[in-house]
Symmetry: C2
Subunit: 215 residues, 2 copies
Amino acid sequence: MRLYDYIASANCLKVRVLLGLLGRDVERVAIDIFAGDTLTPQFAALNPSRETPVLEVDGEGVLVQSNAILWYLAEGTQYLPDEPWERAQVLRWLMFEQEYVIPGIAAPRFWRMTDRVSAELVRARRELGQTALARIEDALGDRPFLTGDLSIADIAVYAYTHLARDAGLALERYPRITGWIRRLEATPRFVNDLLPYPSNASRGAGRSIYDPSEQ
Amino acid sequence: MRLYDYIASANCLKVRVLLGLLGRDVERVAIDIFAGDTLTPQFAALNPSRETPVLEVDGEGVLVQSNAILWYLAEGTQYLPDEPWERAQVLRWLMFEQEYVIPGIAAPRFWRMTDRVSAELVRARRELGQTALARIEDALGDRPFLTGDLSIADIAVYAYTHLARDAGLALERYPRITGWIRRLEATPRFVNDLLPYPSNASRGAGRSIYDPSEQ
C-alpha cells in the first residue's frame, strides 16, 4: 500500500492524521503540485483528476478522494462506527465537508494565499465559509466531537476548518469550534505536520484543484 | 421513517430512484422549496441548511445529505457492496459527485433555468461540468456501471448528469454516458419521476442550495 502525499495539502493531512492516530504507517510517495508532479502522464494514469492524495493498494488498485481513503483506512477501527445509523451520520459530515468546507474555506484560502483570483470572488466564497462555520458551531452543541466519539468526520472537517484564518475567516466568533480544534489537537498521537505553500505557489506553478478553472 | 421530499429536486430523485429499485416505500412529506416550505422555523429545526431531502427515522433522529441517505438505505442491499474496497470505490464516486457534478452541472443548470446569475458565471461553471463529463466518460470505459454492478454510485451521479443539457452541456459528445443513462433507465423498477421547476422559480421565490450566496 502506498500513499501519494503532498505535505502542504490539507486533503493529504486528513490521511496523515488518521494514520498517526492508528499508529500505522504506509509507504509514502512525496508529491509537490507546485513542482508539477501531478502534471505528468504517469500521475494522470493514477488519477485523471490530478489531485492528491491517492492510495494505491497492491492487488486492488487505486483509490482517490481523500474522504473515501479515510473511510477505507478507518473501516474496523474506532474512528468509523459499526452501527449503520452512526456510520450514516459520519458520512453526512464527509458530504457536508465537500459541500461547504471545501468551496467555502479551502478554495478562498488557496486563492488568497496564491493571488489567483479577484478579491471579490474570495469575498463571495467567504460568505459560504461563514455558513459552514455557523453550521459546525451549532452542530457541536455540547458534544466533544461531531458525531459523538472522535471519528473520521472530525478529521475531514478539521482539515480546512482549522485553517479558516488563512481564508480571512475569524475563528474567535466560534468558541465551540476553537474548543473542538484544541480537543482534537490535544488527542494523543494527533499530529498536524502540514507545511505552508511554497514560495512559488503564487506564481501559478503546477495546478491545484482550487484553481479557478476547476471551480 | 419519513422522507421530506421535493418532486423537482434531483437530490430527492436519488432517494426515490433507490426506493423504487428496492421496491420499498416510506412515508413522504411533500416539500416545495419555491413555496417557501424550507424557510419555516420547523424546517430549520429538521435541517439548519434548509436543504432537501431529509430522512427522519423514529427512534434515531434526522439524517441529511442525499448521498448519506442513499448509503443508509442501501446498506445490506445489492446497491452497496459488502467488500471494503468496493465500498470505498462507491464512496469515491459519491465524493466525485459533490466535487464535480454538483458545482459543474447542478448549479449552472439551476442558475440557467431560473435566471439567478450572470451568463458569465454559468459559462465558468460549465467548464467544470465539461470536466465532470469527461471524467465519467473515461471512467465508464467498457463497464456497464461506474463500479461494476449498478450501485448508489450510479444513482448519485446520474441524478444531475442526465440533466446536463439543461445546463447547456451537450451529452452527444459522450457516447458512454448516454449509453449508461439508457442502461440505467431501462433497469426494471428504475423510475424517474422528476418534475420541472415551477413557473415561479425564476422569480426568486424560496431559497435553493444553488442560490449564488450558497455557492
